[in-house]
Amino acid sequence: MEPKTLFDKIWDAHVVKQVKDGPDVLYIDRHFIHEVTSPVAFLGLKNRGMKVFRPQNTIATPDHNVPTLQQHLPIKEELSRVQVEALKQNCAANNIQMYGLDHKYHGIVHIIGPELGVTQPGMTIVCGDSHTSTHGAFGSIAFGIGTSEVEMVFASQCILQPKPKKMRISVDGVLGKDVTAKDIALYVIAQISASGGTGYFVEFAGSAIRSLSMEGRMTLCNMSIECGARGGMIAPDETTFAYVKGREFAPKGEEWDQKLVLWKLLKSDDDAAFDAEFHFDAANIEPMITYGTNPGMGIGVSGSIPTGKDLTGSDLITFKKSLEYMGLNPGDKIKGKKVDYVFIGSCTNGRIEDFRLFAEFVKGKQKAESVTAWIVPGSKLVEQQIREEGIVEILEAAGFALRQPGCSACLAMNEDKIPEGKYAVSTSNRNFEGRQGPGARTMLASPLMVAAAAVTGVVSDPRDF
């Protein structure tokens, strides 16, 4: 039998039909939806006189538009409120389970899927959100889709999809002090560029990847879209199984035993061929931060902003435009740059481990007076755990306040927007112009880098403390 990659094994097992000279008809095991990319798809379905084909495989939560304070009150902004209300009505009309603001399982769609055990190895998972790649951490094929494709899944539980090429990114060795999964992600993207993975589905491998917790693996797979890849995945192992076991919707008893046998087969064959391969040494990665307006514009915290002297033509125009937007000078050291806002949260770094790291760093220190800090758990369950572990007390003693779950300052769709011209060190995933608010200047980094900036008011190296 021809050796296969992990990706091939899962993909091939989900092909309902191959269209001649065209895409595959791919069966989807789990469909996550939120309020922004679903309403037009629901409307299209309604116009066809149809209902959702497999509502039991569809899970909904409002996350992009929701405020992160006083969630018990009606949403102030009318358009946001209407969108959240539309999700509620559409789910009710189609018999879809929705975890609304008042539900104990509410949270960001890519946080709640895994923590409820809905996300499992070997599945195909889609959502009208590019960061669906997060779920690949469990050894599933998970990727973001557009609204037309959301409607396809509503109507048929399938989508038409050409099979992407396969890339393997291996990171071997031991990670240095204060180097996290987020730093691996920003390092890899800086190495292969924000479009280096376009056309590919990535499998992350190597000893440094295996050493990551599930939270770390989710952060890494979440960011795989930022190198242009359709998604990222990691072969499931004991770390994965231990995380899934016992969760609300995870298989139980005999079913668990049966699934486990199958899940253990989910790995790339030794001699499986990839269309592209990259190898990186974990020892070369230091805490990372971005200085520009795409996630590939990242450097180690001890480094300097590139001079751009080797660039020409449109590359040079793009580089200059980016630094001008950021108000940063070519060749300057990044350390010591002023920071106005810090944000920890989002589907990238809104999990319990992220808050533990942050709290451990700020414990016994004080938030810099000049800094505004938004500390936003990814879900109600994360919030609950933060409280149970005594993290809230540590945060409060250091001058920080915990907000309520939602996408928050990641994308400026709700009330949490970074003001024009202000610098934010953020654990989110995109530093595009205006991403965190019109004119906002985003520097992407890990929870530890955010913590260090929060207590000093400038870009700082957590290893110096």
Binding site: V16, G22, S130, I317
Partner: protein, 195 residues
């Protein structure tokens, strides 16, 4: 619901020679709040197109009377970032029918095809040629022919082929919609679920 048929188009182009134009630039998240698909064209490139006070930014190409047409030409890695199909809708609603670049982000490419816009991927060299031609003469005409899969820079006398999978080509030529196709597979899908 079907998509608009696309066979052939002859038009001037609107040049946007910037790389890594992400979907947050094409349409910022704060304009994604509609529950119907209408009105997105007004917010296409919102933060580049309008000044802070809401008046048009005269420096931006869409506000420059020298340039018009149904073909939008962007720098490489066009459409990166968010999966929002609203980005494709905004381009379509603003009157474009073709988007040209030397490199498209994956999700964006599927989204434009699904809403009846044709993505045309050309070499860096051909792209540079388009920018040079239109900079010298904004009235220069370009032809995009889906049947022969060619784009022609008429003035420069240069023509190249572009790729599109034959399924999607049929859909666009005939105005077919993926959803109708998938619904027609109902029996096969149910059989797959039972297997």
């Amino acid at each position: 619901m079907s998509i608009e048929k696309f066979q052939k188009l002859v038009s001037t182009v609107v040049p946007l020679p910037i790389e890594n134009v992400d979907t947050d630039q094409i349409i910022p998240a704060r304009f994604l709040k509609a529950v119907e698909r209408k009105g997105f064209g007004d917010n296409l490139f919102r933060d580049w197109r309008y000044k802070k006070d809401g008046t048009p930014n005269p420096d931006f190409v869409l506000n420059n009377p020298r340039f018009s047409g149904q073909i939008l030409v962007g720098g490489k890695n066009f459409g990166s970032g968010s999966s929002r199909e609203h980005a494709a809708w905004a381009i379509y609603d603003a009157g474009f029918r073709v988007v040209v670049s030397s490199f498209f982000a994956d999700i964006f490419k599927s989204n434009v095809l699904n809403c009846g816009l044709l993505p045309v991927q050309v070499s860096d060299e051909f792209l540079t040629g388009i920018f040079e031609t239109v900079e010298a003469d904004p009235s220069a005409q370009f032809e995009v022919d889906l049947t022969s899969q060619t784009i022609t820079n008429i003035k420069a006398g240069a023509s190249v082929k572009f790729d599109i999978n034959s399924y999607k080509k049929e859909c666009l030529l005939n105005g077919y919609d993926d959803i109708d196709f998938l619904i027609s597979l109902n029996e096969e899908i149910v059989a797959f679920e039972k297997a």
